[in-house]
């Protein structure tokens, strides 16, 4: 291991973002776009060695970087990835490249600030996934709110201010309670912010219960779980396409990642005690939100609700405590990262041409945009969990895991396959098929090369993951097994 890949993955995009800002001014937007693309690509390239040089047999952390940061509080700049987190760093860097390309000709006002916000956020998100020090994690976790707030508020839709403030305050509320929980753990562990130290820290059950809820608020809001999901449809609907993509593909994963990194290993006993609660909330998300999704009339809102439902699968997988469940949840997170990003980009493609997201304004798009219709078909299928697409793998694994627990659990969870197919394909049918709805649709232009690159890259990812999921799951095995062994031991 020669280069500090993780540090590069964090700081290269941030540096590129600052460079874009420095190139400021409305005049040279072209240069800013190219700098942003170069930064995003460089950020992606430095994460590739994380995958190629990853040691599959090592369940612990790899690519570790450790430097004291704030000695007074024993806070270290401690980065490292294991099988659980490494793929998210890659996913995030990959999605950032797509977002930069997708915004190329769409964003015309304040170009430098737009790209800077995305690149800085991308670096911070890598930091969240790579941080092994809880204080560092928290700093990155909460810092990401600032660029997202700006992205929604400046480049968003008509109701953007409401959505941005709601997004910010909801997430802040959760993370502040998590801060108290973290400071409590810092105290109990005798002054350590190392996440690994906390994993080993024995805690009595009542304390575990309180800490569980402290973390739950933060992560449940981020995931988002029912009933604290209401910020998501607003934020998604109002955010610009790039914002929705990052929100769905990466930001939602922070919450689920938090469950695996903090809640499960630090509070295993509370998790077992309260698993019923988490499972119940997840099932509500899967079944009830699935039904809510059916009746949406705004495409972005529809995909947003579908995200809540899909993320319910992830939390369900985590709290059934077996390898299928946890790995299935992680696979589902990555798959959802690809699929939801792709669907939001598809909606973005249509919105850029029609300036409406309402289903009622569409119909017969296939007549004018055949290539687009074909690609979107693939993503719609993936969203409804068709075999040979990435969407199938995660759902199948979680249902297998649930089946080991109880038949009825698996049964309710499997309703998502029906509901997911229903709302996604119905949406697809109404938008793409049928007679051409109006002259705006008749005048549509098919995908331009830039859009083909973005959607094509995601299509390849979705298919690759569906056909050969081992490439993704083999990375996770060692760490997930270790996690399960760890959870099985009570630490009261």
């Amino acid at each position: 291991m020669a280069l500090p890949y993780l540090s590069l993955a964090v700081w290269l995009p941030i540096a590129a973002g600052l460079a874009v800002l420095a190139a400021g001014g409305e005049g040279n937007a072209r240069a800013q776009r190219w700098i942003a693309l170069a930064g995003a690509l460089a950020g992606f390239l430095v994460t590739l060695p994380l995958y190629t040089e990853f040691d599959l047999k090592n369940p612990g952390f790899q690519f570790i970087e450790l430097t004291p940061w704030i000695e007074r509080f024993n806070i270290n700049y401690h980065l490292g990835v294991d099988g659980i987190s490494v793929l998210f760093v890659l996913l995030n860097s990959f999605v950032t490249v797509l977002v930069v390309i997708a915004g190329w000709s769409v964003i015309e006002s304040r170009v430098s600030q737009y790209y800077a916000a995305f690149l800085v956020m991308s670096g911070m998100l890598n930091g969240v996934f790579a941080a092994l020090d809880a204080a560092l994690f928290y700093v990155f976790f909460e810092s990401t709110l600032i660029p997202m707030f700006i992205i929604i508020g400046v480049w968003g839709g008509p109701n953007r201010v409401y959505a941005a403030v709601k997004f910010f305050l909801y997430t802040l509320m959760g993370s502040l309670l998590m801060l108290v929980a973290m400071l409590y753990l810092y105290n109990k562990s005798g002054g350590s912010f190392e996440i690994v130290d906390w994993h080993r820290l024995p805690l009595p059950l009542p304390a575990q219960g309180l800490l569980f809820f402290g973390f739950l608020f933060a992560f449940a809001v981020k995931v988002p779980m029912w009933p604290v999901h209401t910020w998501l449809p607003d934020a998604h609907t109002e955010a610009p396409t790039g914002g929705s993509v990052v929100l769905a593909a990466i930001l939602l994963k922070l919450g689920a990642y938090g469950f695996v990194r903090f809640t499960l290993p630090i509070l295993p006993d509370a998790c077992r005690q309260l698993a019923w609660l988490m499972i119940a909330l997840s099932l509500v998300a899967i079944a009830y939100i699935g039904l809510v999704t059916l009746v949406q009339t705004d495409m972005k809102r529809l995909i947003a609700y579908s995200s809540v439902s899909h993320m319910g699968f992830v939390t369900l997988g985590f709290f059934i405590f077996n390898a299928y469940g946890i790995e299935g949840g992680l696979v589902q997170m990555i798959s959802h990262g690809f699929v939801s990003a792709a669907l939001f980009l598809c909606i973005g493609v249509m919105y850029d041409r029609m300036h409406t997201r309402l289903l009622a304004d569409y119909g017969g798009v296939v007549n004018t945009m055949p290539r687009f219709a074909a690609l979107m078909m693939l993503f719609a299928m993936a969203n409804s969990g068709l075999p040979a697409t990435s969407g199938f793998v995660g759902e199948f694994m979680v249902i297998m895991g649930a089946m080991q627990q109880s038949f009825w659990l698996a049964f309710i969870a499997a309703t998502t396959l029906v509901l997911g197919a229903a709302y996604t394909l119905w949406m697809y049918k109404r938008v793409i098929f049928g007679p051409v709805a109006n002259q705006h649709v008749a005048a549509l232009q098919d995908l331009n090369p830039r859009e083909v690159i973005v959607l094509g890259a995601l299509a390849i990812a979705v298919l690759a993951m569906g056909v050969y999921p081992v490439a993704f799951t083999e990375v996770m095995h060692a760490s997930v097994d270790e996690l399960l062994r760890h959870i099985a031991v009570p630490k009261i």
């Binding site: 007074r72 909460e142 810092s143 707030f149 910010f168 801060l179």
Partner: protein, 496 residues
């Protein structure tokens, strides 16, 4: 020879002597300066501040970490006093630079402003170094009287005069409370020197009658302190004074006096009455909770920026008290340094934020236009992207969002509170700071999401642009590397 030794022994008061001499000299020079050349006085004042800073650094360098008492125990010089004095010079200096253009535009850059500012600084320095009730009170009154006059500087403005009147009456009342409390404690212990008070309370506190007597005095001392700090329910003067005073004076009131108020809180409670920690910690807990609640919730309803920042001050002082009240746990002082160090870090970071925020208001004001309503910030990112960014950093720092210094300040005091077992208070604090985040966010929203009502870039003095940028970036720098300032605060408290 003899004189040299006497002088050497009194070296720690060098900065005070410089300010006093400088202020007196300035008063005389200013008589001879015509109003067109008032800038001369302005530069003299800056020179005095630089000399003071050099003096304090020299004193610190000569004395090292030792604690020295002078003038038969009236005056103390230790690391904390030197650190806080340096911070006070810096904030007075920034206040001077930030307000220059504003005062010039309004014809208020008079000798009085600069002289009063220096005398107020002298008062603060005496407070910071006070080792006895007497010097503490003298410093406090010197500072307060100067500030009363400064609030009324714009004597034709009814609003300013009203603010000055309120400030004076309530300030006198609070001084009375403080004095009454001090007299009670003096009656019980028979000494004005704080170290002596600490020694005799440790014996007296054992007997219930004397303890009751001491606690009775303590209540008044804490109430007086709360008035000076601006903690609820003794906060009523803050919004009116902040609002009514010329913004330049609001800047002065909102910055350096917080440092000296913190210093006297440490001197009185931690140095003077450690035996009663259990009693005053409970009082401070109530004050902290009320301040955070009143400050954050009322700030939401404000449409005037100065009032909003005033309520934000109240909330922040509540947060600072959180550190102050977490020192002693069940008679155990093991984590006391951490807690007081956290409070000191908080108050210094707060002063940097407050200077930046009011400095921004001064920067955006110009002749005939006061930037003091929320709407005046509308669309700032269009008019001046850089200063909108600086203001955003300030607001996120006030809200305590990483990566800004305000975040570590919050973490430090919360950590102290949690380790002292005040978990419910910590939870209440974070929930109330969530409420607070809303009104800071609203400013970011106005600057970034809304369209400007008037076009054109914002003019500004280059000196001020530079310092204001540095002020904002400092918060970001401390947000990424808080270690140096934190260590400084903790060392200062350890050597107390």
């Amino acid at each position: 020879m003899n004189l040299a030794i006497i002088l050497l022994n009194h070296l720690p008061v060098l900065p005070e002597v410089i300010v006093l001499a400088g202020a007196c000299a300035l008063m005389i020079v200013d008589l001879r300066v015509t109003s067109e050349r008032r800038v001369v006085s302005y530069y003299i004042a800056q020179g005095v501040l630089v000399a003071c800073a050099a003096g304090t650094v020299f004193v610190q360098w000569v004395d090292g970490p030792t604690k020295l008492y002078l003038f038969s125990g009236l005056f103390v010089s230790d690391v904390m006093s030197n650190v806080l004095k340096l911070a006070s010079y810096a904030s007075v200096w920034l206040a001077l630079v930030y307000s220059r253009q504003y005062l010039l535009d309004r014809g208020l850059l008079r000798g009085e402003f600069i002289t009063l500012l220096l005398f107020a600084l002298l008062g603060m320095m005496v407070m910071i170094s006070a080792a006895s009730f007497l010097s503490l009170y003298l410093g406090l009154e010197l500072m307060s009287l100067c500030l009363f006059a400064m609030v009324a500087l714009n004597r034709d403005s009814a609003q300013s005069t009203e603010a000055a009147m309120k400030y004076f009456v309530l300030g006198a009342l609070s001084s009375g409370l403080l004095l009454y409390g001090m007299s009670m404690i003096y009656g019980a212990t028979g000494s004005l020197a704080l170290s002596e008070v600490a020694r005799s309370t440790s014996q007296l506190a054992a007997t219930t009658t004397d303890r009751a007597f001491l606690v009775f005095g303590l209540v008044f001392v804490v109430a007086g302190l709360a008035f000076k700090i601006g903690a609820a329910p003794f906060h009523m003067w803050i919004p009116d004074v902040y609002h009514g005073a010329p913004t330049a004076v609001t800047l002065v009131i909102g910055s350096a006096p917080k440092l000296s108020a913190f210093a006297i809180a440490i001197r009185l409670l931690v140095n003077g009455l450690p035996e009663l920690a259990h009693d005053w910690q409970d009082m401070l807990a109530l004050l902290a909770l009320l301040s955070m609640a009143v400050g954050n919730i009322t700030a939401i309803a404000q449409s005037n920026l100065k009032r909003m920042l005033a309520y934000s001050t109240i909330a922040h002082m509540g947060f600072m008290l959180l550190g102050l009240l977490s020192g002693v746990v069940g008679g155990n002082r093991l984590s006391a340094d951490d807690a007081y160090g956290a409070a000191m870090f908080y108050v210094i970071v707060y002063v940097i934020m407050s200077l930046g925020a009011f400095g921004m208001l001064l920067y955006l004001s110009r002749a005939g236009f006061e930037c003091e309503n929320l709407d005046d910030l509308r669309g700032l990112s269009r008019r001046s992207p850089w200063f909108a960014f600086v203001m955003m950093v300030l607001m996120f720092s006030l809200a305590g969002i990483p990566p800004t210094a305000g975040f570590y300040a919050k973490v430090a005091v919360l950590s102290a509170a949690i380790s002292a077992g005040w978990i419910w208070l910590a939870v209440a604090a974070v929930i109330l700071s969530l409420v607070g985040a809303f009104y800071y966010l609203r400013i970011v929203k106005l600057m970034y999401f809304d369209e400007p009502r008037e076009g054109g870039a914002v003019p500004g003095h280059p000196e001020m642009r530079l310092l204001l940028s540095a002020n904002g970036l400092l918060l970001l720098a401390f947000g990424i590397l808080p270690q140096p300032l934190m260590n400084l605060c903790f060392v200062a408290i350890q050597k107390l």
